[in-house]
Amino acid sequence: MARKQESLTGKMDWLTIILYGVLVLFGWAVIYSSSYSGDEKSVFDSSINSGKQFQWIIASIILASIILIVDSRFYTTFSYAFYVLLMLFVVLVMFVGVEVKGQRNWIRIGGFQMQPSEMAKFAVSLAVAKFISGLNVDIRKWKDKWRVFAIIGIPVLIVLIQGDAGSAIVFVALALVLFREGLESYYLIIGASVTVLGVLALLVNKFILAGVLLAASLIVIYFSRRNKKLALIILGLWVVASGFVFSVDFAFKKMKPHQRDRINVLLGKEVENGKDWNIRQSIIAIGSGGFFGKGYLNGTQTKLKFVPEQSTDFIFSSIGEEFGFIGSAMLIIVFLGFFYRLLYLAERQRSKFSRVYGYCVASILFFHFLINVGMAIGVAPVIGIPLPFISYGGSSLLSFTVLLFIFIRLDTQRYDVMR
């Protein structure tokens, strides 16, 4: 205890904080670009999104500092309290909240709007961590499995009732955490493979998909090359997966046109009459960025507002258009590095609580990234969720900040076993 108090800043993982800062500042710049319309308003001008985002960034810094100062036992001790409190809050919002874009899950404080369901993420993560790290808890046992499912399922249900499918689906990410903590593999493998492959089979050319799968399999085989049996199994799996891809494709083609259309709309694929407008415009904007991009503030497709929601859900299309392949690829690599760093931090925790929480943070952020970028480039279904730290919006930035900095705080005491 005494050691920790001596040098809190020395124990913080500065690499994570720097990556966080880079992403937030980059997002702020892109938000300015997408609200920029040549009228030379300052980036701080609070009449445009970037000005508001600046205030949110300041708020986030303050909040992050508070989180770091507070004793980490505060989070571990009150995990369930946070969870219950936030669940109540989210339910309460259904009755006293204001409606934004057809969803009555916002509260208004002064001039700002907040979405409490965003905040539920860290509370659920804390609760999951608390539960799994409990004595004698084994999620391979049905008794414990149901409990952890309930902890995750309750907020999902509430948010679904509120009509915010995007926020609800995010909790699917916690499957990765359960997997890490020992949930039987086949849950993950079968669930993930079927959904991902099924969706990909419909979105991507089946030959390309099979090729990518093969490449992925070969990578896995390379990493575990000493295990010949594993290699065989993976190859076998690849055959099954490819077969699945081709059969989904075949089944899809056998469907009646209106059924196909319905699935296409769900997947955000090109359908007639402009129902797929957003996604097509997003891909056109990204594609037109080329290798080097059109340059900062020079995006035409996003400037002309061809791409809707371009500072929130479709912010990646601004990035793709203005910074090109170079910029987009770098952003993806930065995110990849960020996720790997989080996974590394999680693995180095000596306490189970901190590790589980770390995995929750990484999975939730990764899932947002996966859906948001995937949607913008047309390989994931259209689900309106923000790109962490980049997208415009106070609720999301604050909630991601809280989520992350609690983990950073826990990490400062990574040598503590008991939580």
Partner: protein
């Protein structure tokens, strides 16, 4: 076994994350680097601004009768790409065209500017509602074909073409001066009140932003129409015209060249304004416009020439009241001034004959009634020579100014696009012709009887008599009473300038009495209508190119004038022959609403009067066109 498989579960998670990152990178590389179509898609990806055309305002006459409205017509459009397997025979049958015509239409369309097989093209222009509804039933048989509604102007009364005007495609000059509002192909008022009140009638165009793809196809509205603006319909115009009177006047003027102008003296409102030969304004609407315009343009009767405001004639005897009023006002002669008349007047060697045989006039009234030329020559002379302490030139200058105060020698300011000022010669003019001080009364004696350099438009003639009937003032004559906005019920009544003649009020009474005598017992007896105190003056304008022009100008009733009128029948001879009877019929119609039975023969004679041979034409081309347009 499963446990073995994922001994290092954290590595599996790392691989999953890496896998998706790789997928994203590959996808980005494909979209941004390999596939170049997105660059061109983005270039062609455009928001297209479509115009939403407002409905043009309607025009009503003074009694609320609708005189100009919009009629829906249909253009048959085709998107060639979508038109497959068309039953040509059936379509030809429905459109009532031959197969050759069908092919001609197709070819014409394909060679038109901006043709694209992806875009809608006009295949068959301007089908009437009747023709279109017949076709519409079967339209489902013809994929790629559809009807697009448009509007054209309709003139239910088929008269007043020169006043109402027409609309046509905007010309380059107007496009340039409109600061980008007008675009090629827009329709604007080309003449008449359609032109003058373009701003009010035209309304305000709206715009609609739509996404278009590479083929310029509309892909849906932009931002759910957030930036679209609605078209604002044009305002309605309430004209001062009495369309019934206008129709009657045009009927009376058939087969004659000339003008009729009727004004309500108290307000300056134009009741009727006829340019004859007239044409059915519907002839210049829609598909037939081009063809009809050409034949109207080449007609030797000049139907497109708006005579009431553009043609100038020497006013002849109709000018005499002005001569009298100026002299009375100057005090150079009294009401009971007499001039002996032996059939001619010798103005210092210039002989002016009197066209009528009558006893010498002992007063103004009688001289007016008999239109005695010597009397008015002498009156004019008095104005020039009897004014104390003035030279002839100075006196003439005063006289000119007095004439100007009646709206002569200048534009009246009527709200029609073109008007000429006529002519009242000035001192400067005569100095230039004859040299300063080298012209005297005899040189310009013909002005005294409304001949020579004095020229007036029929509108000015009617206006003079409106002014006389008002005892000395006139209001700028106008066609439009007010502008109303059908949506907001906004109602703008225009204010028009009141002009005072430079004549003292009391002098009008004797002159008006004289004008009353003209009709009661003088040269215009033919125009006498029982029960109506019509005052007026015949005129016979000398015409060096042929028979004299028959003219009459006057007003009625004498005491509370309701209508001032001028009629000119070109080459009609004496004023009393055609102009006076026609004017009297119009006055009677306007005041009594019907023509007395015993005057019906006059009406018949006037309607049937045919002066075509005097104009050297055998057939009335416009009448034939009008008849053809009517079927």
């Amino acid at each position: 076994m499963n446990k073995d498989l994922f001994k290092n579960r954290h590595q599996v998670i790392q691989i999953i994350i890496a896998f998706f990152a790789v997928v994203f990178l590959l996808r980005l590389f494909y979209v941004q680097v390999i596939d170049s179509k997105y660059v061109s898609l983005a270039k062609n990806n455009a928001i297209k601004e479509l115009d939403v055309y407002p409905t043009r305002g309607m025009v009503y006459d003074r009694k609320g009768e609708l005189i100009v409205y919009n009629e829906a017509i249909y253009d048959l459009m085709i998107i060639p790409r979508q038109a497959k397997g068309v039953d040509t025979n059936k379509l030809c049958e429905l459109l009532d065209i031959t197969k050759e015509e069908y092919i001609a239409h197709l070819l014409e369309m394909k060679h038109a500017k901006g043709y694209s097989s992806y875009k809608p093209n006009v295949f068959f222009k301007q089908l009437s509602l009747k023709d279109y509804s017949r076709l519409q039933e079967y339209l489902y048989l013809f994929p790629g074909f559809y009807g697009q509604v448009r509007t054209i102007r309709k003139y239910p009364h088929r008269v007043a073409a020169t006043i109402l005007g027409d609309i046509g495609e905007v010309d380059d000059k107007s496009i340039e001066s409109s600061n980008g509002y007008y675009k090629p192909g827009d329709y604007v008022g080309k003449s008449g009140i359609e032109k003058v009140y373009e701003k009010e009638l035209g309304g305000k165009r709206g715009k609609k932003l739509v996404f278009v793809d590479v083929h310029n196809r509309e892909m849906g509205s932009f931002n759910n129409g957030e930036y679209d603006t609605l078209a604002v319909s044009g305002d309605n115009v309430i004209a001062t015209l009495d369309i019934k009177l206008q129709e009657y006047a045009e009927q009376l003027m058939i087969n004659k060249k000339g003008s009729v102008v009727a004004i309500e003296p108290s307000t300056g409102e134009i009741l009727a304004l006829v340019s004859s030969p007239g044409y059915d304004p519907n002839l210049l609407c829609g598909a037939v416009r081009g063809k009809n315009f050409k034949s109207l343009l080449t007609d030797s009767m000049l139907p497109l020439y708006s005579r009431p405001t553009l043609a100038t004639y020497p006013p002849g005897s109709s000018f005499k009241p002005i001569i009298a009023l100026i002299a009375l006002n100057e005090g150079v002669q009294g009401v009971n001034y007499g001039v002996p008349c032996n059939g001619a007047y010798n103005a210092g060697g210039v002989i002016v004959h009197c066209s009528h045989h009558h006893p010498s006039a002992t007063n103004l009234q009688y001289a007016m009634a008999q239109s005695c030329n010597p009397y008015f020559c002498q009156t004019f002379r008095n104005s020039l020579e009897k004014l104390p302490n003035t030279t002839t030139a100075q006196a003439f200058d005063i006289w000119v100014k007095a004439c100007n105060s009646f709206g002569l020698g200048m534009r009246t300011g009527i709200d029609l696009p073109s008007e000429v000022s006529g002519n009242i010669p000035t001192v400067k003019y005569f100095n230039r012709i004859y040299g300063e001080g080298r012209w005297k009364f005899p040189t310009i004696v013909s002005l005294g009887i409304g001949q020579g350099e004095v020229l007036t438009t029929p509108l000015q003639m009617a206006n003079i008599f409106a002014c006389i009937s008002n005892h000395g003032y006139w209001i700028t004559p106008h066609i439009v009473k007010k502008i109303t906005d059908p949506l907001t019920n906004k109602d703008v009544t225009h204010q028009y300038v009141k002009h005072e003649a430079l004549i003292a009020k009391e002098h009008f009474v004797p002159v008006i009495e004289g004008l009353f005598e003209v009709v009661e017992a003088g040269t215009a007896k033919a125009a006498r209508v029982e029960g109506i105190t019509l005052c007026g003056k015949t005129g016979t304008a000398q015409n060096p190119h042929g028979d004299n022009h028959s003219m009459f100008a006057g007003f009625a009733p004498k005491d509370e004038p309701k209508i001032a009128i001028a009629v000119v029948v070109e080459n009609g001879g004496y004023g009393a022959t055609y102009a006076a009877p026609i004017a009297s019929l119009l006055v009677e119609k306007y005041l009594n609403d019907t023509i007395a039975t015993k005057r019906l023969p006059i009406e018949k004679r006037m309607i049937e009067a045919n002066l075509l041979n005097k104009y050297g034409v055998h057939t009335n081309k416009t009448a034939a066109m009008n008849a053809e347009g009517e079927e």
